[in-house]
């Protein structure tokens, strides 16, 4: 061996060593921070934790809308699956979901992208696939909004778009309240994006959305919807709208637009069907507006009850325009009679007694030409001309409900003011907002806008309206056991700029009991095919609704009437509300959360009774149990006895019942 040559090579190796050491120093010491940053950027990521959307209840805490975590299965076709693997996956999925094997093999007949094998599978079925593994197969939890009663109150509640934003109704107006705040977690990922570990200390938990308690009463809503549907069958027509309101505070107890839609599969319905026509569509109210005119006249003391008016046998030329009565045959009518028989001629004569500006002020005062400001999206304001723009005949036509357009919600709010003592309330759809733990965040109190007419006028109007039902056009709305007041309305629809002879809006607005109105209800049928007058089409529907509501709550009405009589009249509505809201804390307690930690830790079946449905479902899915639900509301029974050792994958049937505020089961 040649020593000098060996030394030469040693020197070479040593230089190589030095070069490596210098380069390592530059990378690992000098550029370390920069490279560390770049590395962390690809190694870690922020994952969203979806916040659970708030629940929606009716006024009696009946759960209407909740969430379910469905599971979607995806297959990454980039993993180049073999034929056998595809076959295995196809057969397994076919066995679980009951679709044909060829359906899945067709799906898998692509390459280079990720496909969705099964979208939003319910967790019961997804659990069957829990131990099934295949290359490229992965699943994701996807929250699904469940509208427990399908079509019920669909226009009030609205629905969620696929990207989980509220599109209509409460879901839209209160999107910010309901959606909560998404959490974040910092995760270490691998190059494919799979999560490896979660940095617990840097994780921000999701805050669930707030729960909303509607002013809607589910049973009233069911009654209203059923009767409107029946009405549509009986009379035909393009749509039937209905609102039930508490006239003393503006709370909406039921609101329906038939035909309705199912928010669970909203995409199957047209835009027109999903629109809440109660708010978005305006119409000329026709005779129902005479009540407003009459209230203004009485409030200004411009006519007496017994005064007689010549109604010209129902045909009267006024400024070269003929005004006709539909129910003709009378030559003279009393002022009451004008309203009872709904005489256009009589109304247009009477209205001449009031000054234009003053009449306009009353109409505005009742809220027409202005948004009602209900907490629902898409409201129209209707149209009302200013007196400066009026023609000589405008006032006459206004008096019986033409030359202005209103929404049903405006009209029912105005009626509430007419009968409740003269106070216009903002219509309300929300009773309270609670956070996910049950603390009340916002308790809605009645929002009085202004006093429009005096209490005396209001009392007289109630009597007048009772007369309409007892003696006049609204006889079809009469009930034997409770006094009813109301007003019919039939207005010709404008079709292509002309008043149509075949298309009518038939409406009826009524209330009961007359002495102390508790329920105010509007029914409007669009273009009925059989019958046209409000008294013949809408009034019978109203009667059915009113009768069922009254019977359902006969006790409630009596007790309320007693309360009302005891209190000074002025504070009527407020005291009623206050006494109700005092009960609220108790209602929160009925949906209490029992600490079942011990049972959970020891893998024992917890006692779910008096859990809310959501808590019960959460608890069951945490335990890995499948579940079936019967009913809704609060858990009253469970098929697995509390304290028994849990076997994952078993099915627990839970039955729920809805409870009333004070804890008594009323349904």
């Amino acid at each position: 061996m040649n020593n000098s040559r060996v030394l030469f090579l040693i020197a070479g190796v040593f230089i190589f060593f030095l070069a490596i050491a210098v380069k390592l120093f530059s990378i690992q010491i000098l550029k370390s921070e920069e490279l560390k940053y770049l590395a962390e950027r690809q190694q870690t990521g922020i994952e969203n934790i979806n916040a659970e959307r708030g629940l929606i209840f009716d006024r009696n805490n009946v759960l209407l809308v909740y969430n379910r975590n469905d599971i979607s299965f995806y297959l990454d076709m980039r993993m180049a699956l073999s034929k056998e693997e595809k076959k295995k996956i196809g057969e397994k999925f076919s066995a679980v979901f009951g679709k044909s094997v060829s359906y899945y093999s067709d799906l898998m007949n692509v390459s280079g992208k990720t496909i969705c094998l099964e979208k939003k599978a319910p967790s019961e079925k997804a659990l069957l696939l829990k131990n099934f593994k295949a290359i490229g197969l992965f699943y994701k939890e996807e929250p699904t909004r469940i509208y427990q009663y399908n079509n019920l109150a669909s226009h009030v509640i609205g629905y969620l778009s696929n990207d989980l934003h509220g599109v209509n109704g409460i879901e839209k107006t209160f999107d910010n309240q309901l959606k909560g705040f998404n959490g974040q977690m910092y995760v270490e990922k691998n190059a494919i994006g799979d999560m490896i570990t979660v940095a617990e200390e840097q994780t921000k938990a999701a805050e669930p959305g707030n729960n909303i308690i509607l002013s809607i009463n589910k049973s009233f809503q069911i009654i209203l919807e059923e009767e409107l549907k029946k009405g549509l069958e009986n009379f035909g027509g393009t749509s039937a709208l209905g609102i039930v309101m508490d006239p003393n505070n503006g709370e909406i107890l039921a609101m329906s637009d038939q035909h309705d839609f199912n928010p669970n599969c909203f995409w199957e319905y047209s835009d027109t069907l999903r629109r809440n026509k109660i708010l978005t569509d305006t119409y000329e109210p026709g005779s129902t507006f005479k009540t407003i005119t009459m209230s203004a006249l009485l409030d200004q003391k411009l006519c007496r009850d017994d005064e007689t008016i010549n109604v010209e046998n129902g045909k009267y030329k006024f400024n070269n325009v003929f005004i006709n009565d539909s129910h003709n045959g009378n030559s003279t009518l009393t002022v009451r009679g004008v309203l009872e028989q709904s005489s256009n001629v009589g109304m247009s004569k009477l209205v001449q007694r009031i000054d234009n500006e003053l009449f306009y002020k009353y109409i505005r005062g009742f809220g027409f030409g202005n948004y009602s400001s209900i907490d629902l999206p898409g409201e129209a304001e209707g149209s009302l001309k200013k007196p400066t723009g009026w023609t000589p005949i405008t006032k006459a036509f206004l008096s019986f409900g033409y030359e202005l357009s209103v929404t049903p919600i405006q009209l029912i709010s105005a009626y509430a003011a007419v009968i409740n003592g003269g106070t216009l309330f903002q219509p309300q759809i929300i009773k309270r907002i609670m956070d996910s733990k049950g603390a009340v965040l916002n308790e809605n109190s009645p929002k009085s806008i202004r006093s429009v007419i005096s209490r005396e006028t209001s009392a007289r109007m109630r009597e007048y309206l009772r007369g309409v039902v007892e003696n006049g056009t609204g006889k079809a709305a009469k009930l034997d056991f409770i006094s009813v007041g109301g007003k019919t309305g039939t207005s010709q629809k404008l079709v292509d700029g002309k008043y149509s002879k075949s298309h009518y809006n038939s409406s009826f607005i009524g209330f009961f009991p007359v002495e102390n109105p508790q329920i105010l209800c509007l029914v409007l049928v669009n273009s009925p095919e059989r019958g046209r007058y409000g008294g013949a089409v809408a009034a019978p529907i109203f009667k059915e609704v009113a009768e069922k509501i009254a019977k359902l709550n006969s006790k409630l009405f009596q007790s309320n009437q007693i309360i009302k009589k005891e209190k000074p009249e002025l504070k009527n509505h407020y005291s009623a509300i206050n006494s109700e809201s005092n009960i609220t804390p108790a209602s929160n307690n009925t949906i209490r959360k029992i600490d079942n930690n011990y049972a959970l830790k020891n893998n024992l079946m917890p006692d779910l009774s008096s859990y809310s449905l959501r808590d019960a479902l959460l608890c069951l899915s945490k335990l890995g149990l499948k579940y079936k639900i019967s009913g809704s509301g609060i858990v009253v029974a469970q098929s697995i006895t509390p304290g028994i050792k849990i076997q994952k994958g078993n099915t627990c049937i839970i039955s729920c019942q809805e409870s009333k505020i004070n804890g008594a089961v009323i349904y």
């Binding site: 060593f17 380069k23 390592l24 690992q28 190694q43 691998n190």
Partner: protein, 376 residues
């Protein structure tokens, strides 16, 4: 000498132990991803390490002189094996390097490398003075070196071929060949080798990307880029054994040729330098063994083995930090080993045997006599 033999054994053993731990850390994510088992690759590696250790012990007991007799037949056989590989071997990533014997598949290049070192050492001892003669001495040696490395080269396994050639030339250089001959043949190799490299698409691309990166100053390729990110996040002290994040599939095949990046990430700058010093220590020990060995054949064999190990280690490391173009050679002792780990252990075993067999004779042979022998 006995001490040196044990030193070589323990350093190799320690490095293989360290390698096993790093392989475990670097391969686990990939194993789960690919084989659904955390230790799939680690287990296979441990088997090879154990086999390697057994072979190391066996070969350290076989007298190294016994290879002399059959070195020619062996090298001819391996040349045929390489030709067979060229014709029959299935192609992996555009290169057919493996031969499958049913139970075990191995790269004939690994065998060829060791046999070439042995044969060159044998030839140099036989030729003795003739080595300075181009036609009668140098050419024989050079033909064997070029034949074997050329066959490896055109598999194509450019990096391995070049390193085998470099090792051979180093043996010739140390063995006393004329510098003029070596330089001329080196020039010849560069011209023909360069042409060959441009002939094969996968080596051409690698060289071209390296050249491009020199112009742009950018990253060389995804593997090196990810490797450098690993070194960088290691910093001075490293993230700790088992805490590598780059092994989460960011660095492709992190347990193989780029394992030093994971090592650098987990052990930091200090660890990386320590490992380099381990290789230097092994190199020094090997050189001392060579120096103290009595016969020329033993000297050159020991030198060839230790030079080959060191040059493979340093080139692998230089690749992973982007100092030289990306090549496909493993880091000795550390990388997830196929059969190359076993052949590495065999060569270390031979080195230990050289150290042990020259132990007794050390004091008998006078120093100056050996010197004159070489000089003559």
């Amino acid at each position: 000498m006995k001490k040196l033999g044990f030193f070589v054994f323990f350093v190799s053993f320690a490095m293989m132990l360290l390698g096993t731990i790093i392989v475990m850390s670097a391969s686990s994510t990939y194993s789960v991803f690919k084989f659904d088992s955390l230790f799939h690759l680690t287990n296979s590696h441990i088997v090879k390490v154990l086999l390697g250790l057994i072979f190391m012990v066996i070969f350290s007991a076989v007298p190294y002189e016994s290879y002399k007799k059959y070195s020619k037949q062996a090298i001819i056989a391996v040349a045929f094996l390489l030709v067979a590989t060229l014709i029959f071997a299935p192609s992996i990533k555009g290169a057919g390097r493996w031969i499958n014997l049913g139970v075990i598949s191995f790269q004939p290049a690994d065998v060829a490398k060791l046999l070439l070192i042995i044969h060159l050492a044998v030839l140099i001892e036989n030729k003795n003075e003739l080595i300075t003669n181009f036609q009668q001495g140098y050419l024989y040696l050079f033909i064997w070196a070029v034949l074997i490395s050329g066959l490896i080269l055109i598999q194509p396994n450019i990096s391995n071929g070049l390193l085998v050639l470099a090792t051979s030339l180093a043996i010739l250089f140390v063995g006393g060949a004329k510098l003029k001959h070596i330089l001329y043949s080196l020039l010849f190799c560069f011209v023909s080798g360069g042409m060959a490299a441009m002939l094969f698409s996968h080596s051409r691309n690698r060289i071209l990307t390296f050249i491009t990166s020199l112009h742009t100053g950018g990253s060389i390729n995804i593997q090196v880029k990810q490797a450098v990110l690993g070194f960088g996040s290691g910093g001075l002290l490293g993230v700790g054994i088992g805490h590598s994040r780059q092994s989460n599939l960011f660095l492709p095949e992190a347990y193989g040729d780029f394992i030093f990046a994971i090592f650098g990430e987990e052990m930091g700058f200090i660890g990386s330098i320590a490992l380099l010093i381990c290789f230097l220590a092994l190199f020094t020990a090997g050189l001392i063994i060579a120096k103290k060995t009595k016969d020329k054949y033993g000297q050159l064999l020991a030198f060839g083995i230790i030079f080959s190990i060191t040059i493979y280690a340093f080139v692998n490391i230089a690749v992973s930090i982007g100092l030289v173009p990306t090549t496909g050679i493993p880091l000795p002792f550390i990388s997830y080993g196929g059969t190359s780990l076993i052949f590495l252990c065999i060569s270390v075993g031979i080195l230990i045997n050289i150290a042990l067999s020259n132990n007794a004779k050390e004091h008998i042979v006078p120093d100056n006599k050996r010197h004159s022998e070489v000089r003559r």
